[in-house]
């Protein structure tokens, strides 16, 4: 397996995240689909993972020794598709088929048909149990790959997340890392007003995880934390990434209308200008 092509330079990672956001906004505009805000909030996390941390090779997407990245918040599929296409897992041209009739790129990631998609997600609370199984399979098969699962904050409502959290701690799955995209909104309300999430890092700690809070838009900082898995604690690692829904486009930031809204032609152009892509 090839070593990941690392962009050591923080500025380059930042530019990469902006390019990713630009592609995502354009996909959303073309498809007029939902979940733009949720996709933009995790672009820095995906950039850190795919352009720095993960030991993956787009030419060998099924390599048994690869690191696994599970987009448990499957509604951010646009961000994952854009990432995989930019990394070369499938042709970038295919992104125009997103949400179109007959394509492979549905509004949530599909099973068994798109290189680089580790699991079909979209029903929340599934990714972490799958990650547990992948981690144990690695242990049983004598492979030391790492597993990263990206969860939304709303996803922490699901009981299966906490079943999985206890299990991972019991099994000391130190190759497993959860990143919570804590953008403070879920579909229709403020996450902490829907169900009491806070104090979220303390919850993960209480469930036996080594939990840390960080700025979810500091790509370099995220990469540093994610690279350090396993981190020597003997515990699975939870990174509570504080993010802003709609991050990167001023008129979308922290405005939950963009959970369902899609940009017009003019809004697309404005977004690209703000991202420095126009």
């Amino acid at each position: 397996m090839n070593a990941p092509a690392q962009l050591i330079d923080a500025k380059a990672l930042k530019r990469q995240a902006a390019e990713l956001r630009g592609v995502v906004v354009e996909m959303c505009h073309r498809a007029q689909s939902a979940h733009l805000g949720s996709s933009l909030s995790c672009c820095d996390i995906l950039t850190a993972a795919y352009w720095d941390v993960l030991n993956i090779d787009p030419a060998a997407p099924d390599d048994p020794l690869r690191d696994r990245f599970i987009l448990s918040k499957g509604h951010a599929a646009m961000a994952l598709y854009a990432t995989l296409a930019l990394k070369g897992f499938f042709p970038r041209d295919e992104l125009v088929t997103y949400n179109q009739d007959g394509g492979r790129l549905a509004e949530h990631p599909p099973a068994n048909q798109l290189p680089g998609v580790e699991a079909a997600t979209g029903s929340l609370g599934h990714g972490l149990p799958l990650g547990n199984g992948m981690a144990l399979a690695g242990r049983i098969n004598g492979q030391d790959y790492r597993i990263y699962a990206l969860l939304s904050d709303g996803e922490n409502n699901e009981g299966s997340v906490w079943e999985a959290a206890m299990f991972a701690a019991t099994q000391k799955l130190e190759n497993l890392c959860v990143i919570v995209d804590y953008n403070k909104w879920q579909a229709t309300d403020r996450s902490n007003e829907v169900l009491a999430l806070a104090p979220l890092a303390d919850k993960w700690r209480a469930f036996g995880w080594d939990a840390v809070e960080t700025d979810g838009h500091d790509v370099e900082g995220l990469a540093r934390l994610m690279r350090k898995v396993p981190n020597g604690s003997g515990k699975p690692v939870a990174i509570i990434a504080h993010t802003v829904k709609g991050k990167g486009v001023s008129f979308m930031e922290d405005d939950n209308n963009w959970h369902y809204r899609a940009p017009t032609h003019e809004e697309l152009a404005a977004a690209h200008r703000e991202l420095g892509l126009a």
Binding site: P129, L130, T170
Partner: protein, 309 residues
């Protein structure tokens, strides 16, 4: 069936390094031998069936052959979405094994009854649904699912049921029903733990001068259509027997087959549990008797159906 499962899975664990056993905190001491032989491939997942099923899927995606195990409602209904979306949608070889199918645990009350599981599991694409009839079929079914590469459900009864087969079922094949005894007047198609009742019902019918073919229809999905076509052409009456609701289970599957395959010679009599919770205390034998699932009721209903109007 339960002890046969534990014994056979222990053997399979020794023979095949891919076999992993996941228990939902059930079967006290049942898996001691498996654990002793393969401590790194046994996991007590706790009372957390959603996670257990997801874990199994993550393992199956990576070359292992996990078996999840707990009491039927918790192995199936509690985590039905994980079975559907994780195991079945990804089409990976997770085997869900449940104990206490139907009214096997009647005494534990409706929380532990399972008369809907076949309907739920049968509706899921890619799933194979097997209800073995006795301990020999349990052993054969386990070996059969290990030879295929897809998700499966195996529904067990409890421990200590009557054994019908004389020994190992050498020619067991998924989707291929097994004729237990031949007859000419009525064909009894039994799935799962109802087979001993079917055998007994055939004896009772014989006393009335009626001969019954008894079939162990262990695979509910995929259906053995060859067996059905032959039976419906040959007999005036085909009876389906299941310890499961008449809504959506084995009898329903056969009725669907009939509807899709044109007029048949035989009429179909479906025997199963009603569309109601069984709320009385009492054990399986009592529940069967009350619900008309015992051999005497089966024989009577079959004879009535055959009697000229």
């Amino acid at each position: 069936m339960r002890n046969a499962f534990a014994d056979e899975i222990t053997k399979l664990g020794q023979e095949d390094g891919r076999v992993v056993m996941l228990s939902g905190d059930i079967g006290n001491r049942l898996f001691d031998k498996f654990k002793a032989a393969q401590p790194e491939r046994f996991f007590n997942c706790g009372v957390a069936e959603q996670n257990m099923t997801g874990v199994a899927t993550g393992m199956a995606m990576n070359g292992l052959r996990p078996f999840t195990y707990t009491i039927t409602p918790f192995a199936t209904t509690r985590c039905l979405e994980q079975i559907r979306t994780d195991a079945a949608y990804h089409d990976v070889p997770v085997t869900v094994v449940s104990v206490g199918g139907g009214l096997a645990y009647a005494g534990l009350g409706p929380t532990h009854h399972a008369c809907e599981d076949l309907a739920f599991l049968r509706a899921i694409p890619n799933m194979v649904v097997i209800a073995p009839a006795d301990s020999w079929e349990v052993r054969a079914a386990l070996r059969a699912v290990l030879k295929q590469d897809r998700p499966a459900y195996i529904r067990l009864g409890k421990k200590g049921e009557p054994v019908v087969h004389a020994g190992p079922v050498a020619d067991f094949a998924i989707g291929k029903a097994i004729t237990i005894s031949e007859g000419a007047d009525v064909c009894l198609l039994s799935t799962g733990n109802m087979l001993p009742e079917a055998v007994e019902a055939a004896h009772l019918l014989k006393d009335q001068g009626l001969s019954a073919r008894v079939v162990s229809f262990h695979t509910v999905k995929p259906l053995d259509e060859t067996c059905l076509a032959e039976a419906f052409a040959r007999f005036p009456l085909v009876v389906t027997l299941e310890e499961h609701s008449l809504n959506g289970g084995f009898g329903s599957a056969v009725a669907e087959w009939m509807a899709d395959n044109g007029p048949q010679r035989a009429r179909l009599l479906r025997i199963g549990t009603p569309d109601a919770f069984f709320k009385k205390s009492g054990e399986q034998e009592y529940a069967r008797h009350l619900l008309g699932l015992d051999a005497a009721s089966i024989a009577r209903r079959a004879a009535d159906a055959l009697a000229p109007a």
